[in-house]
């Protein structure tokens, strides 16, 4: 890292210090993202716990298995998993300074994220229009819309982040030295994927 290296005649050369490397020896930005993801785990833990606590306690309105479209949600889960693969391939290419292919994978990741959000908007619209299930209809409505709505907002934020990175790459403002920035965006993106893995199983699949 930035420690002194002994020269040939007693001279001491000091390697340039990277201000992003903290006293832990780790990249502060990456460490910060992991800490944020840890806190977000607790946030979603509270929302999932609340949904499960209210499960089966609604006094009115349709229940989960009256409204869920499991094949559509399974497709959404597959789309988000595929986008995680694209994200890791984007990072791999950008680390190798293959910006052209890295940018393509970034765009593919963002588009699959948009596909997921589109499915969610369709699902929400279906619930509201055909089943009259709204945020204030029942305990199921409020806990379901708040949980999946916050997840959808996370995905939307990730899509915007990825599109900004893609735009920078297309304009030649992103190269291998920025791999950590792409890696941090990737950590965030994979996190929204693992939250969906939990939501998909606990909310949609478990009877």
């Amino acid at each position: 890292m930035s420690g002194p290296a002994a020269g040939g005649h007693g001279a001491v050369a000091v390697a340039p210090h990277d201000p992003n490397i903290g006293t832990t020896g780790l990249d502060n930005r990456k460490l910060g993202m992991w800490i944020f993801l840890g806190s977000d785990c607790m946030f979603f833990g509270a929302l999932i716990g609340t949904y499960l606590a209210y499960k089966g306690k609604s006094l009115s309105g349709p229940g989960p298995h009256d409204v869920f479209n499991i094949p559509l949600t399974s497709l959404s889960a597959a789309v988000l998993l595929a986008s995680s693969l694209f994200m890791v391939l984007a990072l791999h290419d950008i680390q190798r300074n293959d910006i052209k292919h890295g940018a393509r994978w970034l765009l593919a990741t963002a588009l699959f994220g948009l596909w997921f959000v589109g499915n969610q908007v369709y699902e929400f619209a279906e619930f509201v229009i055909y089943y009259d299930l709204k945020l204030w209809t029942s305990l199921f409505g409020s806990s379901f819309f708040v949980l999946t709505g916050f997840h959808g907002a996370h995905v939307t934020g990730g899509v915007i982040w990825l599109l900004l990175l893609w735009r920078l790459a297309k304009r030649g403002l992103l190269d291998a030295r920025d791999a950590t920035k792409v890696e941090i965006a990737g950590l965030y993106w994979h996190f929204v994927d693992i939250v969906w893995i939990a939501i998909f199983t606990v909310i949609y699949l478990i009877p």
Partner: protein, 120 residues
């Protein structure tokens, strides 16, 4: 956008501080993991349509399969398997607290997935 001060072309500029960073997965590993994730998702979906499957088996099976997907994404795609143990601690610690929150809320409201509610 590029860091003019950053000498190394990779994200791992910390030298000795990230000893496991050299063992990153290959592109082939990423594709294999993606295929396994797709397979697990298909099994989860198919399990719902198996007639006569006991509820306990279905619920435990679904939870184990989703845990496997979770571990694969975090370990391989997020590189936690290969990265510094500090990152692992920063993530796994709060994750355990989150699981504790879920279990505590379920206990508080007597809302158990597996066990039937006691009728008073």
């Amino acid at each position: 956008m590029a860091d003019s001060h950053a000498p190394a072309p990779t994200s791992h500029r910390a030298g000795h501080a990230e000893p496991a960073a050299t063992g990153h997965a290959t592109v082939r590993t990423y594709w294999i993991v993606a295929a396994v994730l797709a397979l697990i998702t298909a099994i989860e979906l198919a399990a719902l349509y198996v007639p006569g499957l006991p509820n306990v088996v279905l619920v435990v099976g679904l939870l184990l399969l989703s845990a496997a997907k979770f571990v694969l994404v975090v370990g391989v795609f997020m590189h936690l398997k290969y990265d510094s143990p500090i990152f692992r601690t920063m993530f796994v610690g709060p994750l355990l607290i989150a699981i504790g929150i879920i279990l505590a809320l379920m206990a508080l409201f007597s809302a158990f997935i597996l066990l039937p509610r006691q009728v008073l």
